[in-house]
Amino acid sequence: MALDIKTNALDQRRQTFAHIARRLGEDRPASRYEEATFDLQPGGAHHYRPTWDPAHELYDASRTGIVLADWYVLKDPRQFYYGTYTIARARMMEAAEKALSFVEKRNGFAAIAPEWQDTIRFYLLPLRHVEWGANMNACSITDLGFGAAITQATMFTATDRLGIAQIIGRIGLIAGGGQALDEGKRVWMDAPEWQPMRRLVEDSLVISDWFEMFVAQFLALDGLLYPLVYDLFDLAGQAHGASSLSMMTEFMVDWRDEVTRWIDAVLRATARESDANRDHLGRWFAHWEQRAAEALAPLATRVLGEAGIDALAGLRGELAKRAAGLGIPVGQ
């Protein structure tokens, strides 16, 4: 055996694939993330134009106004490839399962003050439709985006958002069975407080530049919605005995913290490259952040009362600071 290992060491012809070595600048052992990501999207000539978009090639960088010399600068700081991604999510889901079954078994939802239970059903259950819209947008970016680095991360995000929509669905089942979900959808479709949000989500689905979609969904909308719902609404719920809800939405809080690192890395690398990119990002952010704030205002007011508008303004300030920190010009 010892001899085998020695032979092996002598005979190893190369440490990694040539395309990885070219990127690393030398032939040295590469990480699984690097081997799973770099240059996976085919270059070279394509055979046929898509019948669904004859103006472009199948993979075509000109589907967005953003220009990058190398699309693999959009690396994922989490270094997620399929294996690390699913194992991370399975672990988070295991914790979520425990929380859901704990609350269900102990009938924890019933311990929340009844009027706040109504409030939760009103603000939380329609969010599964927002998540479903986010799923479609992430999927759209995976479809039209350029380079495996960004499109694999958006694929993971697409299934994340479906998963979160289903966690909300399960909270709904605990909080009132199928009827609660049906009612949540009715609210989503008809309640005046939800209509600006539904309009925003539907408008986001038809954004033609996929990078603009990225900014609209992940920075502008999520950047305000997640802290509003999972931090501020949750905090307000504590006064009404809603700690069981906090347990059940822990997944979303952890997820947001994790995914923010990736979103920020993508935007920072994009902004860094050129004035033209910064102009695009600044314009898109200004537009969609305004829309998101308008869409969230009626919900903030409904849940937090008069304090809602101030709370939202505070979140907007923090988001603007975050965007500016990423190199995105934020309008004065």
Partner: protein, 119 residues
């Protein structure tokens, strides 16, 4: 029939003759000699005389086969794009109707490859 597409869907053919820098493509197929697994395609100027095809192009491609040395050029049965063809050694390909992507398929009577396997 034509493609169903969401918008106008017409693109220039990838292999128009003008893309070949003065050459045109010629496909050659020697029947009963499956040692050459598929028809062979070569770029040739349309002005090339048949004598150059017979004297240079074909031997360069096929001389590895033991049958090639036995081929009597006068006996070869040629077809051009599916029709019987009697090449004129002195005239050019273009003058004899050999166009871009023409197929010249031929058999050599009495020479049917090795081991009775058309190989």
């Amino acid at each position: 029939m034509s493609v169903k597409a969401i918008g106008a869907y017409r693109f220039a053919p990838a292999d128009r003759v003008e893309n070949f820098h003065g050459n045109q493509l010629l496909t050659l197929l020697w029947d009963d000699h499956l040692m050459f697994a598929a028809p062979i395609v070569v770029p040739v100027p349309p002005s090339m005389p048949w004598s150059a095809v017979a004297g240079e192009v074909l031997p360069q491609l096929y001389a590895q086969h033991p049958d090639w040395a036995k081929v009597d050029m006068g006996e070869v049965e040629w077809t051009l794009d599916g029709e019987p063809f009697e090449p004129d050694a002195a005239r050019s390909l273009a003058e004899q109707g050999v166009h871009h992507k023409s197929v010249i398929r031929f058999r050599t009577p009495g020479l049917v490859g090795l081991a009775g396997a058309h190989f």
